[in-house]
């Protein structure tokens, strides 16, 4: 069990141990015999500690001094911050170069659709022909159609030229109706006969009226593209009234 050393004796004991003076050691042991063992421990410790210096330096040769190129490095924190900044700058530079190298060419504005208003022509004297051409039925006898005829709005009102000779009345009516796009139906009791006609620039209705007045019948337009030929004349005998007064066409 180690005995507790008073502070003043402790201080004196360290001085004696550090000096390693035999006389001082003997003097201390004479005055404090109870601490002689503790003093011997500390003397040994001081001897070993000081002797360690002699052992470490005695055999060492002095090398030639050559100033080193490396100075004291900056603090580690500064090194880390500088390294981080350098890496960030390198990353930014790499990103910029890559982006610049792989960028697509500048895109020109692309016209998707051009919408233009239709040009409004002013009133001119230009003649616009009708879309539907004039249909000419096959004729038994050659006929000549004069050019440059003004086309009326409806087919039956268009002037036509028709010349027939020695033809039955029934066939002549059929032909006149078909020229205007009508279907001609002839009522029972109609008396057919051989006729010759020569119309130049007459409309369908005028032709039928004229023939009805001559041969005693009345054309009735049904409104559905059909003309019925009735062998009678209003207000008179169907065949005898050749004037055709009071006759009518259409409904």
């Amino acid at each position: 069990m180690r005995q507790r050393v008073p502070s003043d004796v402790e201080r004196l004991m360290w001085l004696v141990a550090e000096s390693n003076d035999p006389n001082a050691i003997a003097d201390f042991e004479g005055r404090f015999p109870e601490f002689s063992l503790e003093l011997s421990r500390r003397c040994r410790m001081m001897s070993d500690l000081k002797g360690a210096r002699a052992n470490s330096a005695s055999d060492h040769r002095i090398p030639v001094f050559t100033p080193r190129s490396t100075q004291m490095g900056p603090p580690r924190k500064t090194v880390w911050v500088a390294s981080g900044l350098a890496l960030a700058a390198l990353a930014m530079a790499s990103y910029s170069v890559t982006k610049w190298a792989t960028a697509p060419p500048p895109v020109l504005p692309k016209v998707e659709q051009v919408i233009t208003e239709p040009v409004q022509l002013r009133d001119t004297n230009v003649y616009v022909p009708p879309k539907q051409p004039v249909e000419t039925p096959p004729l038994q006898n050659p006929t000549s159609v004069p050019p440059n005829i003004q086309q009326p709005t409806s087919p039956q009102e268009q002037p036509k030229t028709l010349r027939l000779s020695n033809t039955s009345l029934r066939a002549a009516l059929q032909m006149i109706g078909e020229m205007a796009g009508y279907h001609v139906e002839i009522a029972p009791g109609f008396k057919d006969q051989q006729i010759s006609i020569d119309y130049n620039g007459e409309t369908t209705s005028n032709m039928l009226k004229d023939l009805g007045a001559q041969y005693g019948f009345t054309p009735f337009d049904q409104g559905d593209g059909t003309i019925i030929i009735v062998p009678a004349v209003d207000g008179g005998p169907p065949l005898d009234d050749s004037n055709g007064s009071g006759r009518r066409l259409g409904g």
Partner: protein, 186 residues
Amino acid sequence: MLSAVIEKPRSENFDEDTILVDRYLAGDDTVFEIIYRKYYDKVFAIARGVLIDSDEAADAVQEIFTLVYRHLKRFDRRSKFSTWLFRIAVNRSIQESRKHRFKNRTVELTEAAGKEAPVEKEEMDPRVQLALAKLSPQDRALLTLFYWEELSLNEIADSIGSNVNAAKTRLYRARERFRIHYEVPA
């Protein structure tokens, strides 16, 4: 007899270094070799006491004298040249010791596992070496300056950058910690 021990001076003033420094600053580069050889053992002892390892100490000595070689113009003569030199040696050795902290921990773990520590070229008492290794670099520097270089408390205070009383207190505590580690049965 005891009073003679207590009043024994630790060191004497030495102004020869000032003359050498003046010659070097005047352009005589050969003087630095004289300074280097004169103080090599002392600087090596400080570095060895702090770093323990001889190779690391030898490397640190070269670093220390390189710093002195380049910054000798900064010596302000407010203290002795040796004190200025030892301050550089202590600070640089402690800085180097922090670099090699991992290695010292590895040594401690090896010893804790019951294995023998590697034997150094210049053999130090293993018991002393073990006790020093368990101290902080600052404690090792204080013990080295006082017991190996036999500097006075004033010089130690200058070397570690503190006042005399603080240096004295820190030295006593370092010595006590060393004693505890030294007397621990192996």
